[in-house]
C-alpha cells in the first residue's frame, strides 16, 4: 500500500571504520501512516538520527528495504516527498528569511511571483510575517528554527522529517514551538518522523513513540500514546500524559523505575 508514509523492513546500517565495521542500526521494522506523528527516542548511539538520515536518503541503508510512499528512499528524495529540519536551523546567513524559506522553491524552478505568494503563506503559518526581510543573525534561535520549519514545509510535503529541531532551545521556547508544531502539522496533514531525546517532548507530540536502544541500534518498543488530536497546555498537566511519560521512561530503562520515595 502506498498510503504508508514510511515502510521499513529489516533495515540496517553498518559503517566501515579502520578498526572494523560498526553496526549503527539493525533489524528495523517500522511503518508510519500518512498523517501520523511518530517520535524516535533513545540514548546517544541508538541510531535514531541514523534511521532518520536513511529515510531522508542522506545515507544509504546497508540492509533491508526502505520505502517512502511506496518508493525507494532515493526516488522519494528526488521527488521531494519529504521536508526536513535539523537541530541546527541551517539557514544560509547571506539570505533573508524570505529567501531562505524560498530556497527549495527556487531550486525547483518555481516562478518569482508564485514564490513570493507561497513564502507569505509559510511565514504566516510559522508566525514570522513581520520578519521576512531580516537576516538569520538578527533572529533568536527559536525564530531561526521556525524559519527552518517553514522552509521544510515549502513544497507541501506529505512527510516531515525532524532531527532534534528543538534540541538547542531553552525550555520555554521549546514548549511553545512544540505546541506550534502540533498546530502546523494539523493544518498541513503531513506525517512526521521526529527524533528527540526528550521523553515529555516525544509524548506531547506523538501518536506513537518508538523507543530505541544502542549497541547495536535497534527498536525495542513502540508505544501508542492515544492522547487524541488536541495537544494543548492542559494536556501537559493531565494524568494520562504523566502515565505515558512514565511508560516511555520505563520502556527506555527496560524495567519499572524506582521512585525516590519508595527506596
Amino acid at each position: 500500500m502506498s498510503t504508508l508514509a514510511v515502510q521499513a523492513a529489516g533495515v540496517g546500517k553498518t559503517f566501515a571504520t579502520k578498526t572494523g565495521d560498526v553496526v549503527a542500526l539493525t533489524g528495523v521494522e517500522l511503518t508510519v501512516e500518512a498523517g501520523e506523528f511518530v517520535s524516535l527516542i533513545g540514548p546517544s548511539g541508538c541510531g535514531k538520527s541514523t534511521l532518520l538520515r536513511l529515510i531522508a536518503d542522506l545515507d544509504t541503508a546497508s540492509a533491508g528495504e526502505l520505502q517512502i510512499f511506496g518508493k525507494p528512499a532515493h526516488q522519494a528524495r528526488l521527488d521531494q516527498d519529504y521536508g526536513i529540519a535539523f537541530q541546527q536551523a541551517g539557514l544560509l546567513p547571506w539570505r533573508t528569511v524570505a529567501s531562505n524559506i524560498a530556497l527549495p522553491l527556487e531550486l525547483h524552478g518555481m516562478s518569482r511571483a508564485e514564490r513570493s505568494t507561497r513564502v507569505a503563506e509559510l511565514a504566516a503559518l510559522v508566525g514570522l510575517s513581520d520578519f521576512v526581510d531580516r537576516y538569520p543573525d538578527q533572529l533568536s534561535g527559536g525564530m531561526q528554527q521556525r524559519v527552518a520549519i517553514a522552509r521544510a514545509l515549502a513544497e507541501q510535503p506529505r512527510l516531515l522529517l525532524m532531527d532534534e529541531p528543538f534540541g538547542a532551545l531553552d525550555e520555554m521556547t521549546r514548549e511553545y514551538l512544540q505546541a506550534e508544531l502540533t498546530r502546523i502539522t494539523a493544518e498541513t496533514g503531513a506525517a512526521v518522523v521526529f527524533v528527540t531525546h526528550s521523553i515529555p517532548e516525544a509524548v506531547f507530540l506523538s501518536d506513537r513513540v518508538v523507543v530505541m536502544s544502542p549497541r547495536p541500534g535497534r527498536i525495542t518498543d513502540i508505544l501508542p500514546t492515544g492522547l487524541g488530536a488536541v495537544r494543548d497546555e492542559a494536556l501537559r498537566e493531565s494524568s494520562e500524559y504523566f502515565e505515558r511519560v512514565t511508560a516511555v521512561r520505563e520502556a527506555l530503562h527496560g524495567s519499572p523505575v524506582d521512585r525516590a520515595n519508595e527506596r
Partner: protein, 260 residues
C-alpha cells in the same frame, strides 16, 4: 551618557582625529629637522619640496602612475582568475590538489621579483609583459590559498539540506559553495591587491621599459633629485592605498552577514 561608554573604547571622532594629529606632528617634525634646523642628510628632502615637485610634475607622475597601476591591475586580474580556476579544480578533484600544493608552496617561497630579469629577457625589455607576469604570480598565491580554503568551508548541515532538497551539483555550487567562499576570495583579493602593486613597482627596478613609478624612483634617487623621487613614492603609495581601500570595501560589503 555613561550608557554609551562601552568599555574604554574611544568615541568615533577620536579614532579619526588621532591618526591625523599623529601625521601632522610627524610632518611638522620633518619640516623642523630639514628646513628649520637643517641637520638632515642631503638625501632627505623637505616635505614642502616634495609637495612642490608633486604639484609641478603631476602630469608626468600621473602618466607613470597609470603605467604601474595598469601593470598591477592586469597582474591582479590575471593572477586572481587563474587562482580561482585552479582552486576550484583543486577543491573538486583531490589529485589536482595534490599536484598543485607543492607548486603553490614553491611559488610562495620564491622571491618573485627576483625572476624579473629572467622574465624581461624572455618577453623582451620593451614590453610590460614581464612586469605584469611578476604581479600576476605574486597576486596568485594569496588568492589561491584563500579561495581553496573558502571552497572547503561549507557546513555539513547546509550540504545535507541541499542534498535533501535534491539540488544538482551546479545548484549546490551556486547557492552554497560560492557564497560561502566569497568572503575568503575577497580577503585573498585584499591581500593580493597590495602584493600586486608592490610586485609591479619593484619589478621596475630590474629593467624593462624606461617608464613607471619604480623606474622613476630609482632614476631620480640615483641622480640626487630626492624631492622628485619622494614625490613618486607618494604616487606609489596612492596606487596601493586606492586598491587596498576598494578591495577592503568590497570585503566588508560581502562579509557583512555573520554565520549563524
Amino acid at each position: 551618557m555613561s550608557v554609551t561608554a562601552e568599555g574604554s573604547a574611544p568615541p568615533a571622532w577620536v579614532r579619526v582625529v588621532a591618526p591625523v594629529v599623529v601625521g601632522l606632528v610627524m610632518v611638522a617634525a620633518w619640516i623642523l629637522v630639514v628646513d628649520v634646523l637643517a641637520i638632515a642628510p642631503r638625501a632627505l628632502p623637505s616635505p614642502i619640496a616634495v609637495v612642490n615637485e608633486l604639484l609641478l610634475r603631476s602630469g608626468i607622475i600621473g602618466e607613470d602612475m597609470a603605467i604601474t597601476a595598469t601593470n598591477a591591475l592586469v597582474g591582479l586580474a590575471v593572477g586572481t582568475v587563474a587562482a580561482i580556476v585552479l582552486a576550484a579544480l583543486a577543491a573538486t578533484f583531490g589529485p589536482v590538489d595534490g599536484m598543485l600544493a607543492p607548486l603553490v608552496a614553491a611559488i610562495a617561497v620564491v622571491p618573485i621579483v627576483a625572476l624579473t630579469p629572467i622574465l624581461n629577457s624572455m618577453f623582451g625589455a620593451s614590453s610590460q609583459f614581464g612586469r605584469q607576469s611578476v604581479a600576476a604570480i605574486a597576486a596568485f598565491v594569496p588568492v589561491f590559498v584563500n579561495v581553496l580554503r573558502g571552497l572547503r568551508q561549507t557546513r555539513p548541515v547546509h550540504r545535507d539540506l541541499l542534498r535533501a532538497t535534491a539540488a544538482t551539483g551546479i545548484q549546490t555550487f551556486r547557492v552554497l559553495t560560492l557564497p560561502t567562499a566569497l568572503p575568503y576570495l575577497l580577503t585573498g583579493l585584499r591581500i593580493a591587491s597590495s602584493v600586486a602593486v608592490i610586485a609591479a613597482l619593484v619589478a621596475e627596478y630590474f629593467g624593462g621599459p624606461a617608464d613607471g613609478i619604480g623606474t622613476a624612483i630609482a632614476t631620480y634617487a640615483k641622480s640626487g633629485r630626492a624631492a622628485l623621487a619622494f614625490a613618486y613614492v607618494v604616487g606609489g603609495i596612492a596606487i596601493g592605498l586606492a586598491l587596498f581601500l576598494v578591495t577592503s570595501l568590497l570585503e566588508r560589503l560581502v562579509s557583512r552577514r555573520k554565520p549563524v
